[in-house]
Amino acid sequence: MRRLLQLLGLTLLVAGWPASAHAHLVNTRLGDFYGGMLHPLTGVGDILPWLALAVLAAFQTAERARWVVVMFPLALFAGTASTLLWPSLPFVPYAGIALIAIVGLAVAAGIRLPVLVLAGLGVIVALVDGYQNGQAMVPSTDHWLFISGVAMIGYVVMTLVVALTLAFLKGRGGWREIALRAGGSWIAAVGIMALGLQLAMPATS
């Protein structure tokens, strides 16, 4: 009976939530934080290099991967914030797509990197992706909430994917790393193809 009442209470809470929550978020403008969190997930341009970078980090030791987990969101924050200083850098879209190909190729090759190179690559990916996300901000956006949201989702995705990949690689069977490397080759192929398309028709992208 008590559980039934709890369920009923939750149902009422769920039914009553949307209107009040929406009004609340609009008033406090906390929606910009969630907007920043969700923005990188609504296009493939961000999530592909993030996934590849997380898998690449996990291919190294867990100790090395931790550096990426720490550095990535910080650089993402800096990259997103940099749009406030430089709102339109023309080379960034090309750099973003080229990085997809580069990180994908690194995963496909299964290369082992020194920790400085790995962390540096993570910082570059984060700066470029952060910048591209920051360009979505409009004058009415609460910039710092949006930037914090982008950095937060970067931290969440990087931590979860690195952890999942490390756990996956600990399982039995030599096919696990091969499967991830095949995935990396797919990501690299996407990057190469998209770079060609971007160069061929920059005006439409």
Partner: protein, 203 residues
């Protein structure tokens, strides 16, 4: 305790949904979706391309480790380079003929259980991948979202390889071995049909 956790999860999910509905549209998600769909459908709608990609997976599975993963990794990567050539407008000759020939060659390799050294198989698949990618690159529509288009395209290609590998894993059984070789023969026939078309022989 578990109930509290579930309730909090639901509440957080709702808050995320409600709070982000408007701002998330900063990305034009319709472009992303249409790019993904058109890219995904592109390799599937051409039978000559489709059978060759399945044949790559079949041959890889038939050759076993490491070909089972080397060939399907090689094909999309090199195909993307071929796609670049096509997009850039580089002129290659006999593209349709070589695409059809790839179906014949790969199908025949599966049908007769050809076992060349790995590097020869990889080079052969790579050469064919250039022409497949080139053909796709020349036909590419003006995608609204190039990245989404590329992701859909490569995903479909990879899944076709996986289909071939899944069928190819039947080689563990005697009946499966015969079935896989029959698939190879059928792919060769499809390739031959397209070769006749490319040469202007069939009506």
């Amino acid at each position: 305790m578990k109930f509290d956790l579930e309730a909090k999860t639901v509440a957080l999910a709702l808050a995320l949904t409600v709070g982000t509905a408007a701002t998330a549209q900063a990305h034009t998600t319709t472009d992303v979706a249409s790019g993904l769909v058109s890219g995904f459908l592109h390799p599937i709608t051409g039978l000559d391309h489709l059978v060759a990609m399945v044949a790559v997976g079949l041959w890889g599975a038939q050759l076993g480790n490491p070909a089972i993963w080397v060939l399907p990794i090689t094909f999309p990567l090199v195909m993307a380079v071929g796609g670049l050539l096509g997009v850039a407008g580089v002129e290659l000759s006999y593209v349709e003929e070589i695409v059809a020939l790839s179906g014949i060659a790969l199908g025949a390799a599966v049908a007769i259980h050809l076992r060349p050294p790995l590097w020869i198989a990889a080079v052969l698949v790579g050469v064919f991948a250039i022409f497949h990618g080139y053909a796709h690159g020349r036909e590419l529509p003006h995608a609204a979202d190039p990245l989404a288009y590329g992701a859909g395209f490569v995903l479909a290609t990879g899944l076709l390889h996986l289909c071939g590998i899944a069928i190819g894993l039947l080689v563990q059984w005697p009946f499966g071995e015969r079935a896989v070789r029959a698939c190879g023969a059928a792919i060769g026939c499809v390739g031959f049909y397209f070769l006749l078309g490319a040469l202007g022989v069939k009506g």
